[in-house]
Amino acid sequence: MNKLYLGAIVVTVLMLIATYVSFDFKHGSSDIVNQIAILGAVVLVIATIFVVVKYVRQMQTDTVTGELMDENWDGVGEYDNPVPTGWAIVFALTMIWGMWYYLVGYPVNAYSQIGEYNEDAKVLNDKFEAEYKHIVGDKLVEMGESVYLSNCAACHGLNADGIDGQAADLNVRIEKSVVKDAIENGSNNHLLGMEMPMPDRNGLFNMNTGALITDAEIDAVSAFVANGMSGAGADVFAGTCAACHGEDGKGMESVSPNIATYDSALVVNVIVEGKKGAIGTMPKMEVLNKKQKEAVAAYVQSLSN
């Protein structure tokens, strides 16, 4: 054994000891990343020493073999050695891989930002479905509140009071001015997906009197509806509005919306269709998914009930 090998062994051992000393086994040994790092350090030490020894040996002992090629550049020549087998195999594999990448790999498996988004969205949508698809009751209201706060509160306010008339006050079903406006001007907000508009005051007859609804009657019935379907004006409601909105004001499917209380179908329809009425314009909220719309409906119902 010559000095080179001896020196190599000494340096290896010293560096391994240094690695051992510098590693905090008490805290670090259970961590997989630390374990891989320490393993890497050991491999690095051994490999480095091995390679250094190999080439130093080669410099010490190698002799000139083979034939020089004909050409030389300013006296610097090149051996006419055959291509090393390993190198040739890797070169051939690289060419095959190049073909694959050019014809199949890149066209078919190319990275796409949108592709990643679609995968990501699918995972999250599935997770949402799995976790929230069947929630009901308080959980649904809870979700509705959080959706409300991030999407609706900007106009309807944190307390759902409509911020001084900027949007509908969701703590009550309907305000008197809104009822009045609908009666006087008619209304069609596609609230239940229907095309038939509610007529304006020139199309609203009071069955009790057999004549068009009067200002006093509009006032009375508006107060009655805004008051939660109670108080004076019940007779006007029965004579004029009940034909479409039902005697209890709860609306009829595909005919009229519920004006006594909020119901899920109504709120969901307002979210889907938007609304333009006495208070102003509400945009469609297209970013919400089906369950979130139901949740907002549940939350809105919970406010006034």
Partner: protein, 230 residues
């Protein structure tokens, strides 16, 4: 066989450059050209909207608000579809922004209304408790610069062929034509007509009076611009 190449390093370098540059050109240019074409449904800005865009730039709205919905679920849930490069085809310059102190405004026209902007520009905190956005009260009295907007319309039509007064395809298969006046008077009249539609939805009486008198305050222009962001 190729020693002559090795003996002419400059020529060799130029050759390598040309080969790589050619590969770059044929891979980059077609997809770039495709992606920068206007998306169906993207229309040029009307005169009033463009004036509003100038108000947006003048007040550095882009310092706090971005106009770029990234393709992440958290963003598309909040703002709507992710942005496509073709949607900026008529933005000169684009207003992507690089910092979101406030929310993204790429599609604000979908979920905010004229009245909301009106109240919000006057006093943001009244609508959004805790908002650090300042009020922009001067927009209610300063007049929008319609003439400059019209000048920009002429420029972009001449230099970039922006299709004003031409049918632009919309998503539902119909077409829409964005009008550009042939004289500055016509452009002013067109902007005023559009401003009247916006002002009809507003509540501020001073603004309504100004528009009725034929003046266009900045607030009307910027709301028209906001509503056009979809």
């Amino acid at each position: 066989m190729f020693h002559w190449l090795e003996k002419n390093p400059f020529l060799f370098s130029v050759g390598v450059f040309l080969v790589i540059a050619f590969a770059g050109v044929i891979t980059l240019i077609p997809s770039f050209a495709e992606a920068s074409r206007p998306v169906i449904g993207t229309t040029p800005y009307s005169t009033l909207e463009l004036a509003g865009r100038h108000v947006y730039i003048k007040n550095s709205c882009n310092a706090c608000h971005s106009q770029l919905v990234r393709p992440f679920k958290s963003e598309t849930d909040r703002y709507g579809d992710y942005s496509l490069s073709g949607e900026y085809a008529y933005d000169r310059p684009f207003l992507w922004g690089s910092k979101r102190t406030g929310p993204d405004l790429m599609r604000v026209g979908n979920y905010r209304t004229t009245e909301w902007h009106e109240n919000h520009m006057m006093d943001p905190e009244a609508l959004v408790p805790g908002s650090i956005m300042p009020g922009y009260k001067w927009m209610f009295t300063n007049l929008a610069d319609i003439d400059t907007a019209y000048a920009e319309q002429i420029t972009v039509t001449d230099f970039f062929g922006v299709p004003y007064n031409k049918a632009v395809p919309m998503k539902d298969g119909s077409t829409k034509t964005i009008f550009m006046g042939s004289t500055v008077e016509e452009a002013r009249a067109d902007a005023l007509a559009e401003a009247k539609l916006v002002a009809a939805d507003m509540k501020n009486q001073d603004v309504k009076d100004m528009v009725a008198k034929g003046q266009i305050p900045e607030i009307v222009a910027i709301i028209a611009y906001m509503n056009s962001l979809k």
